[in-house]
Symmetry: C3
Subunit: 155 residues, 3 copies
């Protein structure tokens, strides 16, 4: 039987970063019916700073995958901070993974798996995996390597 | 008490551009249940022409913010033209703000605030502010500096 | 009177490619209420390989439009494979068309029309046409020229 997300988070030993304050005129998340729309998030570290660097130029593909995982943790922090508990979320609907990469970069799915594998650890291989696009941007705010927006369904 | 969107628009003295005809095989907007999905819009001026130029190369970040505001006005024109009145819209759900910028550009949130601040003027600081991503594209149609797609909720 | 999508597909003589297996941790599609969310798809050929090349650099705008049409066929293959029949889909809600193009490319709507015209052939000019953005990415997975994600409504 599946374990609740909060129990999986506890067992993982993962530490969530502080939920970021919006960097502009938007809300971190918003509810419409039984869906939670989450704004684009970057990789916030435990000290509140952001991982930076263009993938394939300033940081490696492996470091970018770590950044995608950290972006996933940042989304978890926003969910937990706003909803009180990850157990309020039943499943992942959609992940839109944006990689700030060089123009000949080809490994976007590998990078964004850093976030997707985290969500699968928390919500399981069925409910933790939704639809996804993993694509390459020309640039991202503050030169972060990864920005991810997502949609979740409430329990 | 909050004023209706149309009253806020009137008070603002802002003039909406002509609603653009689709530049391809798509609808300007579409209703699903109580949501209005809006296609990607560019910055249409009152004479029907588009603001052009890559941000950080052909136009400044300040000019790009003005272009994002003009893109917001263009979305308002599409909403009003298709729904009859902005009062039909209760709140902003989502803004996806795309900036056609140089590869080292970092100020996407500042640029897209041009649109977000407009929506907050029209629908207020609570209902006019939704979730958002503000990101950098490699290129945009016709070399427009900003393209924005959005989702709104009907009243 | 409108013909069913499967009848239109049959009459068209078009051959669907094999539905692609996910290239990462995601589902090809997912249902939420009466909506089908489809993951980003690339242009899969009948032999299972992908069309490749950056638009305006390695492939022409005309070849890119063909790739967008092939991407549309790939989405149809995923829909049919997972739902059993295209007749299960009532209408196209949204197409997000991403073009892997040079930084001065401007013809994204022309390219993505390759997919949109296909959907209009299958579901008709009203139900087959939804909202859309057609934009330029810095890069795409495996250097595919086009990636498209979409939302459909069930019949």
């Amino acid at each position: 039987m599946a374990h609740p997300p909060e129990e999986n988070l506890l067992k993982s030993g993962l530490i969530l970063p502080p939920p970021p304050k919006p960097a502009g005129v938007y809300k971190p998340l918003l509810q419409v019916d039984n869906l939670i729309y989450v704004s684009g998030h970057g990789p916030v570290l435990e000290d509140g700073t952001l991982i930076k660097g263009k993938v394939g130029y300033e940081i490696t593909v492996e470091a970018a995958k770590v950044a995608a995982r950290q972006t996933g943790l940042t989304i978890l922090a926003t969910l937990k901070s706003n909803l009180g508990s990850l157990d309020k979320i039943k499943r992942v609907i959609k992940v839109f993974g944006m990689v700030n990469s060089t123009l000949n970069f080809e490994e976007h799915p590998f990078v964004i798996n850093g976030c997707s594998e985290l969500f699968a650890e928390i919500w399981g291989n069925e409910n933790g995996v939704g639809v996804r696009s993993a694509v390459g941007m020309g640039s991202l705010p503050g030169n972060i390597p990864v920005e991810i927006e997502a949609v979740f369904e409430l329990a």
